[in-house]
Symmetry: C2
Subunit: 404 residues, 2 copies
């Protein structure tokens, strides 16, 4: 019997317990041995809950029990998760986690400890919830050089943008709706400012490049400035506004960014709606591929964590994970990133578009029945070029990058 401890009995933790119970028979069959939850660590008590008898409040009980071979860390946050995970690995236990914050910050170090002890530090659930993406990158896309990885990695913002699109609502209304439905938190900054997606693309870029990507280095722009008018123009252009977390290899260097983009209907991510997530991958021989599914939620996330538990249980003394080194990856400067830009400007298309053309080069004018303004699309420009030109006028209301 393989003994497992679950640290954190919140949404994901209770999901992990539920999944292990629900699919017990098939999971044990796949592992080839019984998988049993011995402890659940939480500061709270859960009187009457099925896990009551397994509940412990003291981490030392887990780390000091040699019977525990696998620890599920679903506490979230950097501390005490970091210290606990490190101590578990040092004590010879594999760790499976959904903690993107911790993986993005200390993943390289924890993987190194795991490798040195023939253990595994697995984190499939940290990106894309239930969608298999970490393991496919490690063990399926091994014939390729990955040239691009771009994801819709945050379900909250995708839900909000979808709702703005289909119901013509403004940002504040959909945020309230998302909060009422439990999709957005009371303090929604991590989602709407793009921080959550930023940590996830940092993890994916680290994995693809084999080196540590510091998420502080990634240019991150949320969706708070997206308005109902932007959506009107998007529809006119036959495009959708999506918060993309993207990493592209240009001239041998990765350029990473989180920002709203206007994407065309030919792009595989165009039709990803609501709380779903998807990750688009371009390989130099594979071409384009996409992985789609539930990016969050109790059971989908738990499904990915438990798949890691199965993997760890099948390889108790063999390191099978992918990894990256702690050597920091230098990303290319955001100022040299290139895209077309959609721009909204005050004024009248007929009268004022020529001035914009003079400033930005050839533009394609778009109107969307919004009084006192017009839109246009530039040719491909670098961020630096765009910023320099935009600084020369005071008529710009908003700008959104275009993709595809």
């Amino acid at each position: 019997m393989i003994q497992v401890a679950v640290m954190g009995y919140g949404t994901v933790g209770s999901g992990v317990v539920e999944v292990l119970n629900t699919n017990q028979a098939s999971i044990n069959k796949r592992v080839g041995e019984d998988v049993n939850i011995k402890y659940v660590l939480d500061l709270r008590d859960f009187p009457g809950d099925p896990v009551e008898s397994k509940l412990v409040h003291d981490f030392e009980t887990i780390v000091n029990d040699p019977e525990v071979r696998i620890v599920v860390e679903v506490m979230g946050g950097v501390e005490p998760a970091y210290t606990f995970s490190k101590r578990c690995l040092e004590a010879g236990k594999s760790v499976c986690t959904s903690n993107k914050e911790l993986v993005a910050r200390h993943g390289a170090e924890l993987m190194e400890i795991a490798r040195s002890k023939n253990l595994n530090y697995l984190f499939e659930a940290s990106v894309g919830g239930g969608i298999p993406i970490i393991r496919p990158l490690n063990s399926s896309l091994t014939a390729d050089e990955i040239e691009e990885i771009t994801g819709i990695l945050n379900g909250t913002t995708n839900y909000m943008l979808s709702k703005m699109t289909h119901e013509g609502l403004d940002f504040d209304s959909v945020l309230k709706d998302a909060q009422q439905k439990g999709y957005a938190e009371l303090h929604p900054e991590a989602d709407i400012e793009g921080y959550d997606a930023c940590r996830k693309i940092a993890i994916l870029t680290s994995l693809v490049s084999g080196q540590q990507v510091d998420y502080e280095d990634i240019y991150t722009e949320g969706i708070t400035k997206i308005t109902a008018e932007d959506i009107q123009y998007a529809k006119k252009l036959g495009r959708a506004v999506k918060l993309l977390a993207s990493s592209k290899k240009v001239d041998g260097r990765f350029c990473a960014m989180v920002a709203p983009f206007l994407i065309g209907e030919q792009h595989p991510l165009y039709s990803v709606e609501g709380v779903f997530n998807a990750i688009f991958v371009r390989g130099n021989v594979l071409g384009d591929a996409m992985f789609y599914g539930s990016g969050a939620g109790k059971l989908p996330t738990a499904s990915a964590v438990v798949a890691d538990v199965v993997d760890a249980a099948k390889h108790l003394e063999e390191s099978v994970m992918g990894y990256w080194t702690s050597q920091k990856l230098e990303l290319s400067k955001i100022s040299s990133a290139r895209s077309r830009f959609f721009v909204r400007a005050r004024g009248d298309a007929g009268k004022d578009a020529p001035a914009m053309s003079e400033l930005f080069g050839p533009v394609e004018v778009v109107t969307a029945d919004v009084a006192g303004e017009f839109g246009f699309v530039t040719d491909v420009l670098t961020e630096e070029e765009f910023a320099a030109r935009a600084a020369k006028t005071e008529t710009i209301i908003n700008r959104i990058r275009m993709e595809g």
Copy 2:
């Protein structure tokens, strides 16, 4: 150095050679050792080709060379691929293949031989071309009971249906176009009659169930009866016609089928266009997921084969593949499969729809400006119920099942 032999120097075989050369450095790094092609087996000569010096015409050279540890079988067809693969495994060599015909027919036996000798028989490329699906099913979706797996598994027919939809063309014209573009063969039956998709869903169902599924047992209907008029109605219904290869667990038993379906725009497979493939998977805890990419083509298919070579090279003496037993899986009878049906009938909607209602139960009438006929959608019926009722009238022109 790990020596590899490639059997078959056609499209996929030359792709495998190209991928191994193009990404040599990163592949060797991932394997931890150099991977080298020692032989290429083909009956033909290729004067001036880079593989000329490696070309052999006699299989015995490969099977008798103990240096060869991995054999790529990309010959296609059952024989001699079956005999060659079996002999390679018996001689202690792992085999990686794209041969769906062979995997569907003799996969269980070949996997059993591989397991008994701590080797691998890998076939990621046999379903969905470059899309990782076999390995994710084996090693990522291990916390789930798979309840449904439904794919667009044939790029040729999806290209044809997409073209019929977007250009309003009839079947014969798009077939000619597909043949001219090289997407369809001169003898296109394997694609357009659904046989190709049938073998692939047989493989996926075998993998998910753990038992042998004989593809002869799978009800298979191609796209040859789909007309421009069907597409007109589909558009009226806001749906797309897709050739789906589907396996669903109903009351503990799998029901498998290949047939054109009208799918709604909420379905993840709705927006899969052109030669792309996608596989939709529903797990009991994961929920809905989808894997999308190039289902065919030289380099995408070779990417999947070479990923298998990397896996085999990393596990030269350890069986890491999923497998199924040769015990035959009893599929549930097609007659009990349930769906709504879209039906086209001769006559006038106003005058003749009531008779259809009397026959089929409540129907939703659809018209699409096609003279002398009308369409309607039934409630959910079993195949048996539908057939019995349809037999009572002679006015039915065509019927297409609905999904989602």
